[in-house]
């Protein structure tokens, strides 16, 4: 009895980690190159809406996913233009992106869909053979394709960052832009690249909510999840593997919260809903005293000395 409950919670924690993973891995790339994008939540909302709307119109989940990636790329381009080319104050521009994404996704939802409705999202994809392994297989290999993608993204990103010339350039641009510049690394191009890829991943993060996990869209669907994703990057100290640990911590909190609600335990739902935000503040405070330093050029536009 207890075992099935625990399996259920772990299984849903793995599933719920998906949006956090896509969004915070994308944000990690941007921050490593020195760009702090606080508009993740707005991009996620746009991705979630566009994916959902495309699915209602075409019936194709993959087209929905593609649309979310495209919208994420467009937002990434916008963010990169404002932060890298126009060298805007990154904190405020991120809030601008958030307000814009929240407003535009609400507007489009009201005009194009109107009422809350559900769709058939990505269904679990049982991996042959290994999904049959007792407990282990059930937890890890009976998930939908976006979950697998999210978990594969972690080692892939780790490899790119640590083992490729591109990763070296990204880290150099974030740590010592002057040195990177003098070695001929194109700082603007690298930052555009990381921010646009980050935008695409935020788009997928949104889509994973609206066409894979919840299969619904409503105004402000993410409820600040994108901001928690940014916090996870601090938690993970800009390392994909640690970001994964953070994402799992939060998704477990979410899974337990949902389980408590379903069980009808006598705790007001508002308190359980509050939990992820309280945990975020505690985590940020606890992490702050560590020795790990953020990329030196984070939040600093690059000015070539003359």
């Amino acid at each position: 009895m207890e075992v099935t409950i625990i399996i259920g919670i772990i299984k849903s924690a793995i599933r719920l980690a998906t949006p956090y993973l896509y969004a915070s891995i994308g944000e990690t790339l941007g921050q490593l190159s020195g760009v702090l994008n606080l508009g993740v939540d707005g991009v996620m909302l746009m991705g979630a809406f566009v994916a959902f709307y495309t699915v209602t119109q075409t019936g194709s989940l993959f087209l929905g996913l593609l649309a979310a990636i495209l919208v994420g790329a467009v937002f990434g381009l916008l963010i990169a233009f404002i932060n890298v080319t126009l060298k805007a104050e990154q904190g405020i521009s991120g809030i601008g992106v958030y307000i814009f994404g929240l407003g535009l996704s609400s507007l489009l939802f009201r005009v194009l869909i109107g009422t809350v409705q559900t769709i058939n999202g990505f269904s679990p994809l049982h991996i042959p053979l290994i999904s049959k392994i007792p407990i282990f297989g059930e937890i890890f290999f009976q998930q939908n394709i976006l979950v697998y993608g999210a978990f594969l993204l972690v080692p892939f990103t780790w490899f790119i960052i640590n083992k490729t010339p591109l990763g070296l350039s990204i880290r150099a641009v974030g740590q010592h832009p002057e040195a990177a510049d003098s070695l001929g690394v194109n700082i603007v191009r690298i930052r555009y690249l990381t921010v646009i890829v980050g935008g695409m991943l935020s788009g997928i993060a949104g889509a994973s909510l609206s066409i894979a996990l919840l299969n619904v869209f409503q105004q402000n669907l993410t409820n600040g999840m994108g901001f928690i994703a940014v916090a996870l990057v601090y938690f993970g100290a800009w390392r994909p593997i640690s970001v994964l640990a953070g994402a799992l911590l939060f998704s477990t909190v979410n899974a337990i919260q949902i389980w408590i609600q379903v069980q009808g335990v006598n705790i007001p739902s508002d308190f359980t809903l509050m939990l992820p935000y309280i945990v975020t503040i505690i985590v940020l405070t606890a992490m702050a005293k560590r020795r790990v330093r953020p990329p030196k050029a984070l939040n600093k536009p690059f000015e070539r000395g003359e």
Partner: protein, 373 residues
């Protein structure tokens, strides 16, 4: 008019250009929805300014934006970003409501002054948490204030669904999450026979006070110094951490006061629709737009809040008349922020040019002086 003055005036007009650019994109959006933008804008303008009542509603809508905007100005001048307007408004409103519910029999003016002071203190406390974490633990204040917004909103929803729910709602069995109407003794006086209330006057007085604080007092000078250069402030013996926390506390105090005024001036109760912006109507975010649009200057924030208040009030009418969801204004607000913050580039570029011309002039001056000698 010489070239330099002309440039400076052009710089002042940048936010207006950003606003017009956002409006242009809004017009395109409206046209894409298949609605004649002229008809849409006519209903918006009528809704915002068309009658005395409309104008009063615009000012009423602008008042919390001004309080939030002033709070943002103080924080920003100290180099910190307070995105916690939503939560601080809720704390101010909630504490004032609870106080009024518990002491309905106090004389009116005492009730008003005490409930406003309590709202102010609770807003200051809520922002102070973020300030403390920023100054002493280096916790990113944007993230912490946003988390505090959600905590405040869910805390308010909990209280409204239980402990402070209107007893009448429980009796009737309708369980609408709102409090009872507050004692009429606590109502802020109205100015003219419309919804316009005395809170607007308080807001404008505070705008002037914030200006005096920031530019005419030592505390204000140090707050701005911390915002401009932390190293230089430390070197000259300013306790940077203390002033960061202080800026947050002052910022939250103004916003909390704004929340309390929303309760005793406009709604006379607190309510929720279950969403996180159910009571505030996103004023905590719209106030940020007002502050940026007002060039982060307390006096500039007054007309900026008025304009945004007009947009929000007019959008409600537009939604009724031509069925354009008022969420449009949310999208436009985001664009205004992006354009204003993006156009800082032009300002920096211009000031560089000015510095260079000034240098050239200086060196010419020196040469001339040398030649004279």
């Amino acid at each position: 008019m010489n070239d330099r003055n002309f440039r400076e005036i052009l710089m002042e007009l940048i936010p207006l250009a950003a606003f017009l650019l956002a409006l242009t994109i809004g017009t395109m959006l409206i046209a894409m929805l298949g609605i004649n933008p002229l008809i849409a804008y006519r209903s918006l303008i009528q809704g915002a300014f068309g009658s005395l009542n409309a104008l009063a509603d615009t000012v009423v809508k602008a008042t919390p934006l001004l309080f939030v905007g002033l709070g943002i100005c103080i924080a920003f001048r100290a180099g910190v970003l307070n995105i916690g307007g939503e939560g601080q408004l809720v704390l101010g409103a909630l504490s004032a409501t609870i106080f009024c519910l518990n002491f309905p029999d106090l004389p009116g003016w005492i009730l008003i002054i005490l409930s406003l002071s309590i709202g102010l203190l609770c807003g200051a406390f809520w922002a102070g948490i973020a300030g403390f974490l920023k100054a002493y633990f280096n916790v990113n204040e944007i993230l912490s204030t946003i988390m505090l917004n959600y905590i405040a909103a869910y805390g308010m929803n909990y209280l409204l669904r239980g402990p402070i729910m209107d007893p009448l709602q429980i009796q009737l069995g309708s369980f609408i999450p709102q409090t009872a109407r507050l004692s009429r003794m606590a109502d802020l006086p109205r100015l003219i026979p419309t919804r316009l209330h005395f809170g607007t006057v308080i807001a404008i007085v505070f705008a002037i006070l914030v200006y005096i604080l920031l530019w005419r007092t030592t505390i204000g000078f140090r707050i701005r110094m911390v915002g401009q250069n932390i190293q230089a402030s430390q070197a000259s013996g300013v306790d940077v951490k203390k002033y960061m926390v202080l800026a947050f506390i002052l910022s939250g105090a103004l916003i909390g006061l704004g929340g309390a005024i929303e309760v005793i001036g406009v709604h006379h109760r607190i309510f929720t629709d279950g969403s996180v912006s159910g009571f505030t109507g996103s004023a905590g975010f719209n106030g940020i737009v007002a502050a940026l649009f007002g060039q982060l200057h307390p006096i500039g924030t007054i007309p900026a809040s008025f304009l945004l208040g007009a947009l929000l009030t007019g959008a409600n009418k537009m939604q009724r008349v031509v069925q354009i969801p008022s969420a449009l204004i949310g999208a436009l607000n985001g664009l205004i922020v992006l354009f204003v913050v993006g156009s800082e580039f032009i300002r920096r570029h211009q000031s560089k040019i000015m510095e260079k011309t000034a240098e050239v002039k200086d060196s010419c001056q020196i040469k001339q002086n040398k030649e004279k000698h």
